[in-house]
Structures are given as C-alpha cells and as structure tokens.
Amino acid sequence: MSWESIAPLLREGLLETLGMILPASLISYLIGMPLGVLLVITKKDSILPRPKFNAVLGAVVNFLRSIPFVILIAMLFPVTRFVMGTTLGTRASVFPLVISAAPYVARIVESSLLEVDRGVVEAAQAMGSTTWQIIYKVLLPEALPSLINGAANSVTTILAYTAMVSAVGGGGLGATAITKGLNRGRKFYPLMYAASALLVLMVQLINVTGSRLTKRLDHRIR
C-alpha cells in the first residue's frame, strides 16, 4: 500500500475516533464526576455520611466496571438502539462508551478527592462551610492536579475502548486497523501498523499533556 492510499483512510479513522472520544469523555465526566464526589462525601466519616447509599452506589459502579467492554456493548444493543436509534456507527458507540467509562471516571475522581487531606476538610467544616462549599471550594480545587492527571488516564482508557468498538461495527482508528487492515490480508498490513502507531501517538500526547498540566497546576510543588 502506498502512503497516498493510507493517508485518507487514516484521516477518516482519526476523525471518527475523535468523534467518539470527545463526546464520550465529556458525557462520562458529566456523569462520573458527580458520582465520584458522591462516593467520597457519603462515606462513613466524610462530610455527608450516607453509608447505605454509598454501598449501593459503590456496588453499581463495581458491577458496571467488571463487565468486559466487548460484552457490555453486545448486552447494551437493545438499549443503544432505543437511545441512539441505531447500533451501528460512531454515533451509536458513544452510548456504550459512556456506560462503561462513567463508572471508571467515578472511581478515578473518587481516588483523586480522597487524596485531599482530611484535616483541610475539617478546617473548612470548622469555619462553617456548607457541604456544597466544601465540595467546590475545597475538595475540587485541592484535588485539581490529581483530577487532571486522572482525566488523562480516563481519556486514554476511553481511547482504548473506541478501538474495541470497531469489533461491533463502530468505526474509528481501531476499525481502520482491523477491518480495513488486518482482515484484508497481508497487503493491507501497513494500514494496520499506521493506524496502531497513530493510536499510540495519541495516547502519548494525552499523557504528556496531562502530566505537564498536572505539574503546572500543582502549587504543592515549590
């Protein structure tokens, strides 16, 4: 295969991939972030103790996280069809991506918020902060560097998931590598390698950006 024939296919795959990870990441955070906050503040010794609620939420999150993504996609077919109108294509794959990534994001956010010193939260309580003020003035800003780092990991994970979406007719760089590359025989292997290399490059980019941002935003570093 010549570069001239690979390039447009790569471009198409890249755009499809971006078309999946951007909305999927965004929606996963819109759902996962509040869930992560809830997981933290409803713990037994935290600022809004609701141990039963916490246990149920934790169980749901764990359940969704423990189902292999490929199986989850298949299980969700009927729901996906109902919500998105179709089960094929990049648009449809955003739904299972979110269902799988939101609980992951919730755990990542949870672990970032748990890093915030208990004493600082206590000081905020002693100053008469409301629960909501502690969340947006203490927990989130104090955990910001770690949240950014976590976001880089989450997006990377979502990117890895998008590659699997191709297995069920999703599209994106994963599909470029498998259906347009691997499955069409030796002649098309260069396309598979090129698409994979592009995926690797994207992961690197996300992680480098994430860790640079983390460092720059962290005022605990002198």
């Binding site: 010193d117 004493g119 600082v120 206590e122 000081a123 905020a124 309580q125 002693a126 100053m127 008469g128 902060s129 409301t130 003020q133 003035k137 203490v138 800003p141 104090e142 910001l144 560097p145 962290d218 005022h219 605990r220 570093i221 002198r222």
Partner: protein, 339 residues
C-alpha cells in the same frame, strides 16, 4: 478571672466510641466553665481525651451526651444553619495547620470572608489587615508550601481571625513547631487575646505552653478532669496524680531499670519536704563516697520531686544503714539490681 456568666459552659460531657473491640470511653462526664477573655488550657497525656473534648466544642465530634453552651446557645442541639453560624464565631487552629495547599496565603485568609459573603474588594482589604496582624504582610501571594511551619500557623491564625470570632480553639497548635517558633506563636496568641479580647481554649501536652500563656488550666486524665484551677494554683499545689506525673514531679516507679548496670539504690523524692542536702549528709554521716548514677529532681513550690539513682555500697550492712537513714528522712528507697 471567670466572669459572672461564662462564655463557654460544658456540662457532664460524655463521649463513647464503639469499635470492633467494644466501647471506648473518651470523655467521662466533663464539666467546665470558661470565662470571657480567658486563655484556658486543657492539658493531658495523649489519649486523655483532650482532642475529643475540644472537637466537641464546635461539634466536629458529636458527644454521646451532655451539654455545651457557647454564649448561652446549646451547640449540640442547634440546627445545622445555626451551627454553621456559630462555627464562624468559634474559630479553630490545628497542629497540622490545615491550610488549603492550592490557594495562596491571601486566598486562605480570604476563605472565611467568602463564606460570609464579604464583597471581594472589602475582603482583600481585610486580608491585608489580617496578614499585618500576624506579621506576614510580605507573604500575600506565596503558597503554603513555600512557608515554614511557624509561618503556616500564622496564616492559619489570620484565617481564624477573619470571621471576627469570639473564641479561638487551638488543637495542639504548637506541637508541630520547634521551641523558638512555639514561643513566637504563643506570644501572638497572647497578643490576640489582649488586643482583640478573643477567648482562647487551647489543648496541649506541654506544660510549658500552659505555664506561659494560660490563665486557667484543667488537667485531663482518662476522660475525666483530674484537677482544675488557676495556673499558679495547679502548678504549685498539684494534687492529682495525673498532674504530678504530667509535670514530671512524680517519680515514675515502674520505670525500666536497665540504666543500673551495678547494684544501686533508687531514692525517690515524692513531695519530700527536706531542708538539708541529702547526699552530702550521707557522705559525712557514713564517711563514704556517693556515686550518683542518674538524677532527675525538681523543686516545685519548695518541695522536691523526682528520683536519684546512687551506687549501692558493696557492704550489705552499710547498705541497710543507708536505706534506714534515708527512709527516716521521708524518702522512699528501692534496691535496684542489674539484669
């Protein structure tokens, strides 16, 4: 010192923790009155319950039973809204400072003003004022990580003062600081108490802290108050065992004895009222050399406390005579043998 109506009144406060091992009684019926304008010290060994006690005053900890009145208001039974308002009038500083690490010094001090809804411009002015009070005017834009421990505690104090509190609770506020820094923080607290009329309640395990700044003191032991009174009174006429042990004036008789590698006599001065020097009289009376192996004796209020380890004579008869002589003088003597 205590005014007619105390600012803080604690009545029969109990706190029982339930854990896997059963019930732990942290506070066992504490009653205290703290007057307006006082610097009230609560001292005790670790595990005595002092941290639990101070945390019950602003309901960071919920007691099992009892009453806490601040300015006549029942802290433990007030609704959430009133509690938040009360907490703004009862500030707190901590051993580990507990500053927001992602905010500048100014941002930290501004925090309580944000809670109170003070307009930004007015808040900024107040922040500068507060930083002047704690002598950190030049650290306005620094981050806590760039400050020393003492400076961090000053920021915490400025932050605590921002809401114009009536009470400042200090939870081991100097325990993480070196002695010099402790001095300057204590001086600052005293200054705040005098100039701003803020009542201070502090807990500590260091007797020097109490002695230096407090007007009154309560000694906490095993969740109960062992004794309470003005600092002078409690120090000079220490009555409780906990107090004596805390001030290091009660010989600890269970102390491990590995420091005696030769046969020795442990002479215990427990509030002994002796006018003359014990050791030199021993030397004269028995015509012997007295080898002092270790000594830790303090004079408090004209009495001697502590203990001394002296080499025992090889002659068994002489040793008996010495023990008899010291015992007659009101000292306790124990024979110590190397292991």
């Amino acid at each position: 010192m205590s005014a007619a109506a105390p600012l803080i009144e604690i009545r029969d406060l109990k706190k029982v923790y339930t854990n896997a091992g059963g019930e732990v009684v942290a506070l066992n019926g504490i009653s205290l009155s703290i007057g307006r304008g006082e610097i009230y010290g609560i001292i005790g060994m670790s595990g005595a319950g002092k941290s639990t006690l101070i945390r019950c005053l602003n309901r960071l900890d919920t007691p099992t039973s009892g009453t806490v009145l601040i300015d006549g208001q029942d802290v433990l039974r007030m609704d959430k809204r009133t509690l938040l308002q009360t907490r703004r009038k009862v500030s707190m500083i901590f051993q580990q400072f507990n500053l927001l690490m992602q905010r500048t010094v100014a941002g930290n001090v501004r925090y309580p003003l944000e809670l109170a809804g003070v307009p930004r411009k007015q808040a900024d002015e107040r922040v500068r004022e507060l930083l002047q009070i704690v002598d950190l005017g030049d650290k306005h834009d620094s981050y806590p990580v760039q400050l020393s421990g003492g400076q961090r505690q000053r920021v915490a104090i400025a932050r605590a003062l921002a809401s114009d509190p009536e009470v400042l609770l200090c939870d081991e506020a100097t325990s993480a600081l070196d002695p010099m820094t402790t001095q300057s923080i204590l001086a600052l607290l005293q200054d705040i108490n005098r100039r701003l009329g803020i009542t201070i309640v502090l807990i500590t395990h260091e007797m020097a802290v109490i002695r230096q700044v407090c007007t009154r003191v309560a000694i906490l032991d095993g969740g109960s108050i062992a004794e309470e009174g003005t600092v002078d009174d409690v120090f000079i006429h220490t009555r409780s065992v906990a107090g004596k042990r805390l001030f290091g004036i009660l010989a600890n008789e269970d102390e491990p004895e590995e420091n005696a590698d030769i046969p020795a006599l442990r002479v215990i001065f427990d509030s002994a009222d002796i006018g003359r020097p014990v050791i030199s009289s021993l030397i004269r009376k028995f015509q012997i050399d007295v080898n002092i192996l270790a000594a830790d004796v303090k004079r408090v209020g004209g009495k001697q406390y502590g203990q001394m380890l002296i080499e025992a004579p090889a002659d068994e008869n002489l040793k008996r005579q010495i023990i008899d002589d010291l015992t007659r003088q009101g000292l306790k003597v124990k024979e110590v043998y190397p292991k």
